[in-house]
Symmetry: C2
Subunit: 487 residues, 2 copies
């Protein structure tokens, strides 16, 4: 009916939803999806697609298996056995004995993929996670402090819901640039995002004095800062914190009374020689009980990153240190409202934290697959960053960790004008043109936050090694033509 006035419209729905932004899957990615469908359709019909590229290269998101990274054999053997345990009898020869043993262990503990687990995740899996954390950090971890979730994103959502309240201006400090999950959830939940800048000139290092400055500015505006988000290794910059810097951050949290939200999902993605990941809970613990017992730390981890890249399985957890039982009870309730995280993600998590050990049948293959992926990621990171750095107008920090580069690009005044005319930020304009010209999908820096007048984009270095040269050549060719056009 043409005269029907809809109940739900932009002006009647929740205004917080309208202001939330999530550029990782924003306008550029939506366009990329349309192109992918167009290519598929043309292929099916056997006609030309009309596009100047044959496939979309999704460099917008850390989605390794979409870019041909192979899953680890052990993990997939365990998953298939858990889904169809009859295979243990029907086709034992198709599986490594330790994969069968792992499936039996979980089945014997009452873990069935078809049932809701306990709200926080199955107790056997939480115990394995606790053992992993204890071994990593060198001191114990209570399995009851762990909440398994549908990816780390859901854990972040729960934690922010718990802390932010609409009757007060509650601030959560986030880096600039930041992973847009934080900004979008804070927008949805009425929290105040308090940005602290990372220093691009020193490879996006965190400058502790900036934390104080941002905190004081927010406080002067009546914002009560309650939490500090640290992403380490950093997304999108790849920076890895030194232990000294982490100690300063911990002292800041104690002095200012803010909860530390440690986004440590890239803990296995470390590429720089001599650098290694250390968790915040270990650093805090090593500073002594006087420090450790005075800081509330929530640490996030995921099966989507590292060398697994099991993004679609949506496995994640948050582990809490020094939280009051009354607060943990509320978090438990929030996980209960969603009933439980998906069970398959829990199994993947179990394999990640408790991989094959020396002597196990799958050990050597697992190690080989793992090392091949990590080494290849490292080669691709260095190759792509060197290539991008060699392009005129581009500057790209050394990639120490994570899965992304966040280069800056100098855009001529005519581009800024053209973007204004097209009603979009200049970096979005650039990213869209890059996509239209090459099929390469990146995320505009404005989605992460950047210093006024600077332009960046986030690009994963996940394309297969034999495609990295093509990606580089495509960007180079596109950029030269683009700059010539808008000179």
């Amino acid at each position: 009916m043409s005269d029907y006035v809809h109940i739900l419209r932009s002006d009647t729905i929740n205004p917080r939803v309208l202001i939330a932004k999530y550029e990782v899957r924003g306008a550029v990615t939506t366009r990329a999806n349309d192109f992918e469908m167009q290519l598929l359709d043309a292929k099916k019909k056997g006609v030309p697609s009309g596009l100047p590229f044959e496939y979309v290269t999704y460099c917008n998101i850390g989605n390794p298996q979409k870019l041909k990274q192979k899953p680890l054999t052990f993990i997939r053997q365990v998953l298939s056995l858990m889904e169809y345990p009859e295979l243990i009898e029907k086709a034992p020869q198709a599986f490594a004995p330790d994969a069968i043993a792992r499936a039996k262990r979980l089945l014997d503990a009452g873990f069935l993929t078809g049932t809701y687990s306990f709200s926080k995740g199955h107790h056997v899996i939480r115990q394995d996670i606790a053992d992993f954390i204890a071994a990593r950090d060198g001191f114990p971890c209570d399995p009851d402090s762990i909440y398994i979730t549908d990816g780390a994103s859901a854990a972040v959502r729960h934690m922010l819901s718990l802390m932010v309240r609409s009757d007060k201006k509650i601030g959560v400090m986030t880096p600039t640039p930041q992973y847009p999950l934080y900004a979008s959830l804070l927008a949805l939940q009425n929290g105040v995002q308090v940005g602290y800048p990372l220093n691009e000139e020193t490879g996006w290092a965190l400058v502790p004095a900036e934390l104080d400055r941002a905190y004081e500015e927010a406080t002067a505006q009546g914002v009560e800062c309650r939490a500090l988000v640290i992403i380490n290794p950093n997304n999108p910059t790849g920076n890895i914190l030194s232990v000294e810097c982490m100690q300063e951050i911990i002292r800041f949290c104690i002095k200012r009374r803010v909860v530390l939200l440690a986004d440590e999902v890239y803990q296995e993605n470390v590429y720089e020689d001599g650098t290694k990941f250390v968790s915040f809970r270990k650093v805090a613990h090593d500073m002594g009980d006087d420090v450790f017992k005075r800081i509330e730390i929530a640490s996030f981890h995921s099966v989507s990153k590292g060398f697994l890249g099991e993004c679609g399985h949506r496995g994640g957890y948050v582990q809490l240190d020094n939280f009051l039982p009354e607060v943990q009870a509320q978090l438990y309730k929030m996980t209960s409202i969603a009933l439980c995280s998906n069970t398959v993600g829990q199994v993947v998590m179990d394999c990640m934290v408790n991989p094959p050990k020396p002597g196990d049948a799958s050990y050597e293959l697992y190690q080989k697959e793992r090392n091949d992926i990590i080494q290849s990621l490292k080669r691709r990171a260095f190759k792509l960053s060197a290539a991008i750095n060699s392009l005129e107008g581009f500057t790209c920090a050394k990639p120490s960790g994570a899965m992304y580069l966040f280069p800056s690009v100098v855009l001529p005044p005519k581009v800024i004008e053209a973007a204004k005319a097209a009603e979009m930020p200049p970096d979005t304009f650039y990213a869209l043109k890059l996509l239209e010209g090459t099929g390469i999908c990146v995320v505009p820096g404005s989605g992460f936050g950047q210093r006024e007048g600077t332009y960046h984009f986030r690009i994963t270095f996940l394309p297969p090694e034999d495609q990295i040269d093509t990606v580089v050549e495509s960007i180079k060719k596109f950029h030269a033509e683009f700059i010539a056009q808008y000179k």
Copy 2:
């Protein structure tokens, strides 16, 4: 440090989290989980548990496979192949040809369980869902109107987030009793729950006049009712709506300008002869375009219920009719913030909406497994309700659909007093005592909402057939002793 004052405490965290309640996994279930751990521990150590029962019978939640319902073979074969496609070569004899064909079809369409899918779910699976809906209702369904989510719960959460806003008193009408997901999400999101009573005396029928009464009362209090939740078949009561009643509900939505949230997750769980499920979109469509084009309908479905009971896989969807593109774009963004629903849940959904067809290798087995489950559920529903009805003080409506009974129980004054002394609602007191005496876990009616002075509990009829007698005998024995104690 004994002098450390925590940042996050009951008095500092989000007060909306504190008031949200979710009794399906509340105090009684937490106690049941503790008992289960105690039993496991005793078994491991080979010592007596000290409890008067050997296992916990989880009748609190519709979790069929926890109560020994077997998963459907076809579905699990497809899942194991999707997780470990090498099995197609390594062990083809272990799989039905159509299970292999299904896995190949999804793989060929670019569906990999390890990758994030499109935010709304993979396009092939959304197309299969659209075809299923079109065939069910007899008129077309647009795959772009479908959003696949981690269980239907996440879809409900997205829809409520979209509609409720903290700057206005937005009401969402829910039945009393209601599935507590709605109340808890409305509490979290600052929505106003506007209850409309179902009529226990007529088997919990929905009385359309009560909708008007509740709407007017809420309006008089300055609440703007924006949506109406209808659960059909109903959870917890098992009632199934007549088409005439559905027509009246649709006319109410149009007259009052409220969005219809149709919770249709139990659409396969129909036990009464001569009764069948009809979707709201079909009824609205059959009323003519004048009606259909004037109502915004969101319909929820899930892989957790029906005859699949694949709860742990967290597969669900919401399908929208007559929503504005600008609103759909916002829903898309919300699904993007969580990246995508878990892919395995999407595969289960695909198998559910597109099961083996006549002539397919798995067809007969699938039909047999399906019919055995549905028939058995029907027998268990009637057996348990008849048995409960025969107990003194109990009244239980005829179970037409869904997975639960919601009997009322008369509690003597001394029980009310004892509950008051224990600082809990009388029905929670009763449910806890039942659990402690028998190991049977049910949900107190106060978690769903009930008329003042009446007491109920929700119990699934999912225990295996050979346990139903034991459950009945246990309840009977417990109840007699309990009443004698508090006479």
